[in-house]
Symmetry: C2
Subunit: 345 residues, 2 copies
């Protein structure tokens, strides 16, 4: 029988702050022995981690909504794991948990940290492991609260979402359809666009790689845009700004087109459309809604069950592939929520 003392924890640490796209040279690969939990802590074996555009921001120095990952630290990453040793009355060996294991195979959480670290038991009756990293996880919660609390959709309104085939985008679009809106996605390439329309039921999807986003918006949003859920920033944000309606709401969720810039961020040159249209642009950070996650999860799990919400994950296996797999987010290669499978349960 394998004991904790026999285990080795392979880790990926941030070695240098990237300038532009993060390369393999910017990471260091370490290994450490694994320790048993003391006090009321737990030892978690990482099953899968969530790769998200926001991770790029955490690699930068400077003030943000969360401190940057320090040089030499294991990279921050949300994920799911299996409890393999527990001194906590709240967790038993074999429990599958949501947690923030980082880019490593094992994660020791002291009892005093369990709450702060957000470790919680996952109910696999509500969704699969990877769905818990997608529609029922951070991206799903981001889409849910961004759309519902900031966007405040009304039936009949037109919702546009960029990164439509991504984790947040697929949630936003399907949820907006469920709420009775017309939904137009923006995604890269015909395969994603077709999937978004045929599988997810969006009303239309504009392929930004194929050309003119403005013309696409004009064609597919004949009544203008009431809500724009922005995951990408840059030229697409500027294009949508030319088509917004009075009292439109733009949810600023991300700006993946700008995250690896080596030049300054491109501000939206058409922002005065906010004035002309008495419209609003507002940021969302999902952590603010933590006390309502359970409500959103219950609602979304219902949609998964009755088939109104689909969930697509792009699963890549192997912790070692992390540096290259992460880049799929930034070159648009991932198709669905990007998940790095670290081990099987």
């Amino acid at each position: 029988m394998t004991t904790i003392a026999d285990l080795t924890n392979h880790q990926i640490r941030l070695a240098a702050r990237p300038n532009g796209l993060p390369t393999r040279e910017g990471w260091s690969f370490t290994s450490e022995p694994v320790n048993a939990p003391d006090d009321e802590g737990v030892l978690i074996k990482t099953l899968a981690i969530s790769l998200d555009p926001a991770m790029r921001g955490w690699m930068n120095e400077g003030k943000s909504y969360i401190p940057p990952v320090g040089i030499g630290e294991v990279m921050r990453a949300g994920g799911i794991g299996e409890v393999i040793a527990s001194k906590s009355p709240a967790f038993a060996v074999g429990d599958v948990v949501g947690c923030s294991p980082g880019t490593q195979e094992y994660c020791l959480v002291p009892g005093t940290d369990l709450k702060r670290a957000g470790v919680f038991k996952i109910d696999l009756r509500l969704g699969t492991q990877t769905q818990w990293l997608n529609v029922l996880g951070m991206p799903g919660m981001t889409g849910y609260f961004g759309l519902m609390d900031v966007g405040m959709p009304q039936a009949g309104e037109t919702v546009v979402v960029s990164g439509a085939a991504g984790a947040v985008g697929q949630t936003v679009g399907q949820l907006a359809k469920i709420k009775g809106c017309r939904v137009v996605g923006i995604a890269g390439g015909p395969a994603k666009c077709e999937w978004v329309v045929k599988e997810l039921g969006f009303d239309a999807c504009i392929d930004y790689k194929a050309g003119d986003v403005k013309a696409g918006l004009k064609a597919h949003c004949p009544k203008g845009v009431d809500i724009y859920f922005d995951n990408v920033g840059g030229d697409i944000l500027d294009a949508v700004l030319t088509r917004i309606n009075r009292k439109a709401r733009i949810i600023v969720c991300g700006a993946i087109s700008q995250y690896n810039n080596t030049t300054p961020v491109k501000g939206p040159a058409n922002y005065l459309s906010l004035l002309v249209n008495r419209a609003r642009m507002e940021g969302i950070v999902v952590f603010d809604y933590a006390d309502r996650y359970h409500l959103a999860v219950a609602e979304m799990a219902g949609y998964l069950k009755d088939g109104r919400m689909k969930s697509k994950e792009d699963v890549v296996t192997g912790l070692d592939t992390f540096p290259e797999t992460l880049l799929k987010l930034f070159n648009g290669e991932n198709f669905g929520k990007l998940v790095l499978q670290v081990a099987s349960a």
Copy 2:
């Protein structure tokens, strides 16, 4: 006795759409006979017109919150006038009215147009003629509803306002003080900054011409910025974005730094601060609040009366000076609400 038939109406018309700053060559100077009102109309003698940054936008082609002024048309301008002939039961000869006379000496309003044209009797007990173009007029209403309805100030919050010595800025800052906020202005030059602090009672004022606005914000907003009322856009907007607090509100009222650009508008490169801070940027157009003007006027007139609100106008005389007087807005020469006196009552 002078009759209507003896009068000549001198007018200034838009001759060409400006590229950059509007020059005298872009205007044409015409004169026409004056006609008596028929039906239930009124003839108004223009006393003073309001010169506002928004006028620059009205000179551009393209969709906005109001149609552009057509080539060959009298330039649109709000103002006050005296009724010199009336067939309307609602107005008598001698009434001083708020109206939109445009850049001309006389303005004939048909009875069917009185309501749409927004002609209303002015109560000079509430404020002087020029105050009715300032704190009690469009700039005051813009400041009032922008601050109160979009900004939603809470006592103790920090409010920053650019164009602080201008018409909207002076209203916003004084009103925010009355509502219990810390108020920091941004204005050009020591005279304006000193006036804003000493006369209007702002807590501080940053002279953007003297140097580093970011450093000034850091020094004068030790608790960050909760509300930014933006009249200028450009680099100042970007500087403020670096200092906003969580849940900050940015009111997009104007962008005078960008109106005469011959290059594209500079979008706010730091707009992702909205995301980090879960903050909001929202446009205001004063006309949306027309049904509540009377309430705001009553409140503001009270502040004028009890001395908590001061009102400064920069009055230039002579319709002919219009092309050059307008430019004072864009080179920052005006000190207080810019008014063009066309005639005396």
